[in-house]
Symmetry: C2
Subunit: 570 residues, 2 copies
Amino acid sequence: MRLSQFHLHTSKETPAEAEIVSHKLMLKAGMIRKLAAGLYTWSPLGLRVLRKVERAVREEMNAAGAIEVLMPAVQPKELWEETGRWEKFGGQLLKMKDRKDAWYCYGPTHEEVITDFARNELSSYKQLPVNFYQIQTKFRDEIRPRFGVMRAREFLMKDSYSFHVSDEDLNREYRSMYDTYGRIFTRLGLKFRAVSADSGAIGGAVSHEFQVLAESGEDAIFFSDGSDYAANVELAEAISPGPRGAATEAMRKVDTPHQKTCEDVAALMGITLDRTVKSVAVMGTDAEGNPQFVLALVRGDHAVNEVKLGKLAGLAGYRLATEAEIAGHLGSEPGFLGPVKPAKAIRIVADRSVAAMSDFVVGANEKGFHLAGVNWGRDLPEPDEVADIRNVVEGDPSPDGKGTLQIARGIEVGHVFQLGDKYAKALKLTVLDANGKAATPVMGCYGIGVSRIVAAAIEQNFDENGIVWPEPMAPWQAVVCVINPKNDAAVAEAAQALYRDLNAAGVEAALDDRGLRPGAMFADIELIGIPHRIVVSERGLAAGTFEYRHRQASESENLDRTGVFAKFGK
Amino acid sequence: MRLSQFHLHTSKETPAEAEIVSHKLMLKAGMIRKLAAGLYTWSPLGLRVLRKVERAVREEMNAAGAIEVLMPAVQPKELWEETGRWEKFGGQLLKMKDRKDAWYCYGPTHEEVITDFARNELSSYKQLPVNFYQIQTKFRDEIRPRFGVMRAREFLMKDSYSFHVSDEDLNREYRSMYDTYGRIFTRLGLKFRAVSADSGAIGGAVSHEFQVLAESGEDAIFFSDGSDYAANVELAEAISPGPRGAATEAMRKVDTPHQKTCEDVAALMGITLDRTVKSVAVMGTDAEGNPQFVLALVRGDHAVNEVKLGKLAGLAGYRLATEAEIAGHLGSEPGFLGPVKPAKAIRIVADRSVAAMSDFVVGANEKGFHLAGVNWGRDLPEPDEVADIRNVVEGDPSPDGKGTLQIARGIEVGHVFQLGDKYAKALKLTVLDANGKAATPVMGCYGIGVSRIVAAAIEQNFDENGIVWPEPMAPWQAVVCVINPKNDAAVAEAAQALYRDLNAAGVEAALDDRGLRPGAMFADIELIGIPHRIVVSERGLAAGTFEYRHRQASESENLDRTGVFAKFGK
């Protein structure tokens, strides 16, 4: 590509509306242009990168045996009513009425459509397993679209859906997709982690997120420094710190008139936070559906994990207890709570690390007082339940017993789920099994945010001069820059020859023949993140050399033709 | 591709809802599956064909110097209000409201968006000319979606838009796109014609349609048997049949009490229809915007062309005159009208062929009478205006003077337009010209119905056994069919080797290893239209031959390996 024939349109200004670096750099580089909130046009430059991601995804999906289809973006309401999601999906679902007053939505995902396709296409176990995928435009009506294509409303996604006769076969395909995703992100040159994830509203029991690591990432990821264990904070397991120590202190009552937090109590007593216990009162329901008051205990230096707490029996949809409920059940007030002689029978759930404590400090359940030197079994009954109900923290032991947990930040770019029979059942998909009986297949679903990967890659790879593309995602591997092409025919000719020969050798090179001054030209090429820059100038030509510089190198080198080609292994 | 690993799903039944052959065959072959009215999922087989079309379009557009972008499907109302099309576009525009109650549409076309993109991206004449294109999903809310993907509501389109400093440069690019379209359809192996077309609602002065020829086509195309002239009926020019003959009869009044049509009058008088003149009364407006009564005259064997009539000065938006208006202006009633002594001053427009008539028959403008032996200048004043206002008919002389017009039927798959400054003006797009002054660029726009081409190709290429793909569009060039692969390892192995070797030689071959009986397998391969079929059987293997058959051949041939490869020029 000759840049004089290409629409490259960079900008020096930093756009005011952009909050994160990828959004800023994509606008400055002219990769995208905003049409309306969360709607972007991909310019020729941006589209080159997007297509590279799309191609890597397609080729790896094909290699893994998935089969490409293309479903409509517009989906009829009736199908979404069969799964109950027309109402449940919420405000992200963009709904519309056609000229016949029939309702449709712009598909944010395609479980309904693919399962409907499958119930027409699949009739026998012999057609299974099968994994259908598509690379297609989706729409989610975000409350606050922002960060450019990172959280756009209209975006490009690869979504795939597999169908199986058994959970074992689903597990096999799930593992294959997990590995395929790893190959895709590795091939794109990205640093990433696959993390165990809570599957949330999509349903299903097992799921993993693929996170591109970047300091600006919205999601915290915990990973082991001694194994490949990784999980997001909702799912990372906090294991017991070890056996409980022996009691060495006697229990005593401490006067804490104004000390209502663990921090205040620890400061007053001159002890560390991990000697204190925090008591959090919530209201859930018991097995019969009656209100149930629960006191959740975590160490003073830990935080309750709401998702983990919500997984305890009867606690889906719990809420914090009111002061009146606290007074009624505990006979005390917030700030001094503890699992001590409650006024009514309550459910007490201790975090694993709390169950392992000895000689600890806890609220006395009496206004103005805490208890110190407390020990389970001696001063208080053993807790009713011990469970993992806290957020892990950096330095926790890895739950697989290898190493300790470290924290990183990531941007979710992929997600794999085991859906089980949720959609197949709702849409009444069955196939005949080997015995001729109708059986409900189990499904997996596997998504990749194709357009989001472009932004995530920039969040991971940039410097003060612009984007630093991983080579597989760069618009071009190399740019041949011509100094003064209009006034120096020999230089222009030499540059064109080099550009042609590089492409002929399989190097994807562009020719910057726009006739800009060197400073402006180099700034553009750095901003748009081209890995290899080769300058052809009169002086170089006289010396038989080209000025070569890698995007991440601090200095340029003068290389002869052979040296230039060697940079590409040619 | 091994078909045992591919989701091929043909059907023996002829689907009841399908009215045309391409729709029937696409459903039977399992290329598409209906989701809802005008919404189709492309199956793996269908998508293979769609992608081949897409690729041919993309490669030829790139070769022509157009630059690919990707615009959002969802477009804000505000932009459509700037051009006035939010209201004017009509019911085909699918409108929707987002969670913030802002209105959007699902783009049926992208003139507004690309012009908005251009007004942000283009600021100088130096950036022109430029031609941006995209291959993207569009939606038109058809009143009656039908014929499968031929007239779907959601469809894949290539649309491009070029920007120029001058009409001359627009002409140059228009010609380049015209030629590019020819290359695309030729490359796809389609028989087509480029026809002059009325540009209709999109605006602009010059336009051509690209029509794939097929007997089932909706559009009539007139083409010359002596040149490459072709035009649709709206635009095909009807030239004068030659100089007017001399008067040989005297004018006489004929009693036609019940003869209100040219047919009836000709039958009564025993003359041919081309001796009669039909008078059509319409109401338009004059230059000042006042109502104007017009009498349009065409030969009895011809029909008024509404589009041509609408192009006469003052006649945009005309309508048929009412009986009261006719009585008021002509003093007569329908059935006996003619350009004879009108009651008020009226505008008389004669078609060119009418102006060339002598000794003709026309209404006497008096109930129950016609005039015969009429001659212009002698019996009636020469007509006020002579113009081309009729439909051409087969056998008319070609307007370029070479040959006569023939009729064919076609399916519109592409359209090129010169838009002029319509959109640039409405959206206030300007660039600085060479003198530093703001100038409004002129635009061209160029569309191809990517998904429609698939259906159109089938309408042109099928037989009683199914689809007969032009080789460039076939899902695979060849299929290697294995007889009894499960019970005959030697045959299976030989077939796999041939399949591998063909692909290695650059022949896109599939392997039908599904284990079907030969009859069912061959019926499938014929139905899906694969050009080359190669059967590997035990008997053939023993004789060292393969059974080769071309999709359009009536007999198969036994060929050795060399013979098979020779069929592909290898």
